[in-house]
């Protein structure tokens, strides 16, 4: 006799609460590895120093991003934009080739939900124990277990929020502030906000986020074709399903390979039955593959009743990996990644902005000399201090006076007043001038910028 899944509380619709059964297997191991690597990076990276700075630090007040020894300035915003485009394009590429790999193994929602589920299992036990506990009246055992779970969840969520803020504020200082109860208002707000988001999404909402809130889940089908890897139940092999003994002759009983154990439903984190066909709720975590393979092994049947496959393969056709869309995504990705690597390696570690004084067009000095005044903003993006030489390239008559002498510490921004002077007969109206900035010491770094020099118009 079959039983309905237990009805519990649900936030958005009267679906039964999902109690995913724990599963072991090659894909479960792969997901555990992904969780350990990704969350390991998340929690450990801020504590590692690289080139004198935190390895990854988005220092918003100083407007500098430190990523593995590289320093990105606001002027390097183009690189961050390109990185986002590369991330988006990678998602398209992976989805077209292998379906919802992102959802099943790498999405933060999956990864953190997995950890919250681990904690839930440690405290409350696996599926059947959790269902019994939820159905039981409140007693000492239930209060202790539920409270312990909440303590673990809240503690982990707070640690997650703390680490999140640690990507924006040096984490060691932040840790000291927490220990001494000297945390600033905004740091406290963001820490609690991110903790709450983690707790809510991974502890409470779980599969509802994927089903109702995630835009990627909605539009990923546009990237699918009949050669995309999906998780599918081999209906031709499995049906008609039914209970049997290992010794039964399937041909005589008229049965397929599916024994109807429903373990594939019980392990599913979104609570679907994969045997009903591909559904938008399926996050391709492959838990159903792992458990079904175990059942097939116990029954001495061939593995793969539920498997990663393609629509073409299921219908007996060949799967094509190299399709036009895959080639286009791959070429674009390679070009973009190569372009970013080249550009980052060839960045000029000096920025110069020469802004003309808006208050006066020009000044006439004794001796028929015309003077324009500029504000120079010089940024030393290098990790060494430098002294700079400034010269006008395309006009020998011009003279540059800079005060004070341009000398900058590593990653320092300096503002200087530049007075550019030229004889009145140099020209009329607006003159384009190229100004070269170069280091007086090693390594040689130089940059040329253009400016407008104004002379009398008549």
């Amino acid at each position: 006799m079959s039983q309905m899944q237990d009805t519990g509380t649900s936030l958005y619709r009267k679906d039964p609460k999902v109690y995913p059964r724990d599963v072991n297997g090659s894909f479960a191991s792969l997901r555990k590895l992904a969780v350990l690597v990704l969350l390991g990076l998340y929690y450990i990276l801020p504590w590692i120093n690289w080139g004198g700075h935190q390895s990854v630090l988005f220092d918003l007040p100083a407007r500098k991003f430190y990523i593995f020894g590289l320093t990105f300035w606001p002027q390097d915003f183009i690189f961050l934009t390109l990185m986002l485009i590369i991330a988006g394009l990678s998602l398209f590429f992976v989805t077209a080739v292998a379906g919802r790999l992102w959802c099943g193994y790498a999405c933060p929602q999956t990864v953190w939900t997995e950890v919250f589920l681990w904690m839930e299992r440690w405290v409350e036990g696996d599926r059947s124990k959790r269902m019994k506990l939820d159905a039981s009246p409140w007693n000492a055992n239930k209060i202790i277990r539920k409270t312990s779970k909440q303590v673990l969840w809240i503690g982990f969520a707070l640690w997650t929020g703390f680490t999140f803020v640690g990507f924006f504020t040096p984490i060691r200082g932040l840790g000291e502030s927490v220990i001494h109860f000297q945390l600033g208002g905004w740091e406290t707000f963001w820490m609690l906000f991110y903790s709450f988001a983690t707790y809510g999404n991974a502890g409470i909402l779980r599969e509802q986020v994927c089903k109702y809130m995630c835009p990627y889940a909605r539009f990923q089908s546009a990237m699918f074709d009949k050669d995309t890897l999906v998780i599918a139940y081999d209906e031709a092999r499995g049906e008609p399903r039914g209970s049997r003994s290992k010794k039964d002759n399937l041909a005589e009983k008229g049965l397929g390979d599916c024994i109807g154990c429903t373990l594939c439903v019980q392990v599913c984190p979104t609570g679907i039955d994969i045997r009903e066909g591909l559904q938008i709720e399926c996050i391709a975590c492959a838990a159903c593959i792992d458990v079904c393979d175990q059942v097939m092994d116990k029954m001495d049947y061939k593995r793969g009743l539920i498997k990663y496959t393609t629509e073409h393969r299921l219908s007996g056709k060949e799967t094509r990996v190299f399709r036009p869309r895959i080639i286009v995504y791959a070429v674009l990705l390679i070009a973009l990644i190569a372009g970013v690597i080249y550009s980052v390696n060839h960045r000029v570690l000096l920025r110069a902005e020469l802004l003309r004084d808006r208050n006066a067009l020009y000044r006439e000095l004794p001796g028929d000399i015309i003077e324009n005044i500029y504000t120079l903003k010089l940024i030393n993006m290098d990790s060494k201090p430098h002294r700079y030489k400034i010269e006008v390239l395309n006009n020998e008559n011009m003279r540059l006076l800079v005060s004070p002498e341009p000398e900058l510490e590593p990653e320092e921004v300096g503002n200087f007043i530049v007075r550019m002077q030229a004889p009145e007969d140099t020209g009329r109206g607006s003159l384009k001038v190229d100004v070269r900035f170069s280091t007086l010491d090693e390594p040689v770094i130089e940059r040329t910028v253009s400016a407008r020099f104004l002379l009398p118009f008549d």
């Binding site: 006799m1 079959s2 039983q3 309905m4 899944q5 958005y12 619709r13 009267k14 679906d15 039964p16 059964r21 724990d22 599963v23 072991n24 696996d126 109702y212 809130m213 835009p215 909605r218 539009f219 039914g242 209970s243 049997r244 003994s245 290992k246 024994i259 109807g260 154990c261 429903t262 373990l263 439903v265 019980q266 609570g271 679907i272 039955d273 009903e276 559904q279 458990v291 175990q294 059942v295 116990k298 029954m299 902005e353 802004l355 003309r356 808006r358 903003k377 253009s450």
Partner: protein
């Protein structure tokens, strides 16, 4: 004599959706621009490159508004997409749902599987 109501002036759903997306994004961007530029001079935000290209105050306002409008348009269009491709009306009450999957103890399918730890 009766006259037919001019139904041909009615918009289909896609037209209605996009009209709402564009208009709501415009209203949001306008409100955002009022508040933002009440506090910040757009030329201060872009002065380093504005000076080089000699863009005036009006163009700076225009560019900043265009950026705000683009962000609002993206949010508005994505919201429309999520709502239109989401579950239909009555979903909460169970309408149009697949039946809730039935589950059972594995040993009920095969007694030989009794006592197995499925992990």
């Amino acid at each position: 004599m009766t006259t037919q109501h001019p139904l041909n002036r009615r918009w289909n759903r896609r037209q209605r959706d996009w009209a709402v997306v564009f208009w709501i994004a415009f209203l949001s961007a306008s409100a955002g621009a009022f508040v933002l530029f009440g506090l910040v001079d757009p030329l201060d935000m872009v002065s380093s490159w504005a000076d080089k290209y000699d863009i005036g105050l009006r163009l700076a306002y225009g560019l900043a508004f265009a950026f705000l409008y683009l962000v609002c348009l993206l949010a508005s269009a994505l919201t429309m997409f999520m709502i239109r491709t989401g579950p239909s009306q009555g979903h909460f009450k169970g309408k149009g749902k697949r039946p809730i999957p039935q589950v059972q103890d594995p040993s009920q399918s095969n007694p030989e599987l009794d006592g197995e730890v499925w992990k």
